[in-house]
Symmetry: C2
Subunit: 215 residues, 2 copies
């Protein structure tokens, strides 16, 4: 099931609406492979809705064959009313990924904003507009849950791109006998990083922001 060259699947968990978005091609040319939402009916018992969600997510993961699943690290105090169902849907999604052997990465909302919109205080609409721009989509993906899931996938794809670039730089430096910070791969790709320019999402975000500023 696990395909190391597969896309990154972002999941924005929820029981009524669970957003998903798959992004392939880490680096400067990310592409949306699939996105949408899984809905369950409020008329059904909660346990049945969660089981239905589990079945749908299982089918989605088998179809997309992602290299990784990216989910939000929810901060519950900001979201008390819907917190329970977000947690429940998130637990279901994580079990589906684990059972199919797909690695899971967790990102805070601020990490996603930073990666996709260039700063951690970006508004929701700003992040969604950047998702459309980075993925070269004609419109902002609807509903917002799908756009949020794509943002998560972009965040992870950007970091993976950095990790690859950093690993390549480290390998090159090692071959040349140069010392490289062994912790470089842990640096945020928008924070202090390796000395060489990093191809990838960072550059794409900067270019998109520049276009926006110049238009």
């Amino acid at each position: 099931m696990f395909d190391q060259d597969g896309p990154v699947l972002g999941i924005d968990p929820g029981v009524s609406r669970c957003g998903y978005g798959a992004v392939s091609g880490s680096g400067s040319r990310p592409r949306a492979v699939a996105y949408g939402v899984i809905r369950t009916s409020p008329a059904d018992p909660l346990a049945d809705r969660l089981a239905e969600l589990a079945g749908e997510l299982d089918g989605l993961v088998r179809e997309v064959r992602p290299s990784a699943v990216a989910v939000e690290r929810v901060l519950f105090q900001n979201n008390a009313r819907t917190a329970m169902s977000v947690g429940q849907a998130s637990g279901v999604a994580l079990v589906v990924a684990a059972r199919l052997g797909i690695p899971v990465a967790h990102y805070s909302p601020n990490e996603v904003k930073l990666a996709v919109a260039g700063h951690g205080a970006a508004g929701k609409e700003q992040v969604q507009a950047m998702v459309a721009r980075l993925l070269d989509l004609p419109d902002v993906p609807k509903p917002p849950d799908a756009a949020d899931a794509l943002a998560l996938a972009l965040c992870h794809a950007g970091r993976s791109g950095l990790r690859s670039a950093t690993a390549a730089a480290a390998a090159g430096a090692a071959a040349a006998g140069t010392e490289v910070d062994p912790d470089a791969r842990r640096h945020d790709h928008l924070g202090p990083g390796p000395a060489r320019p990093v191809e990838g999402l960072r550059r794409a975000v900067a270019a998109a922001l520049a276009r926006e500023g110049g238009s």
Copy 2:
């Protein structure tokens, strides 16, 4: 899998410790069939821990063959720090129950306290002591997660007992041509109920409290 004469399985969800407790014999002589906790290691990735929990719960339900699963309706604002993992474990437990065709009932902490200790403001220790007393256990079940799960099972078993008693009373009254409140079965078994005395947890709680007061 579903056995309508099986015990009630209470589940107190958590990722580090998930309490469970199965109670058979709704009514005045409830009995603990099984109780304990499922633990997962904080050293493992969250998704793997949740998948392990799902597997353990699946095995437990197949073994216990419950007539119903009772879980807590968590109030998240009271519990912000652990809220996320409680929600995740709860989602996993609900999917296990739904997939095996077991009906799920949800109770608020106050409903459980009211059913087991006789009043909704009872302390945690008081509820746990009542669990031991009602189930005729030599000691309070340890860890507390197991006692909390048994309290949930007792709460549901008590209500089921009321429903049976109410249905029987209604059937008797209908046979005698007496009018019966059609909503009686929805009454809380500690609130206004049918005119006839209800055998079951309510009487057992009252007796236990009287013993306590008289000792």
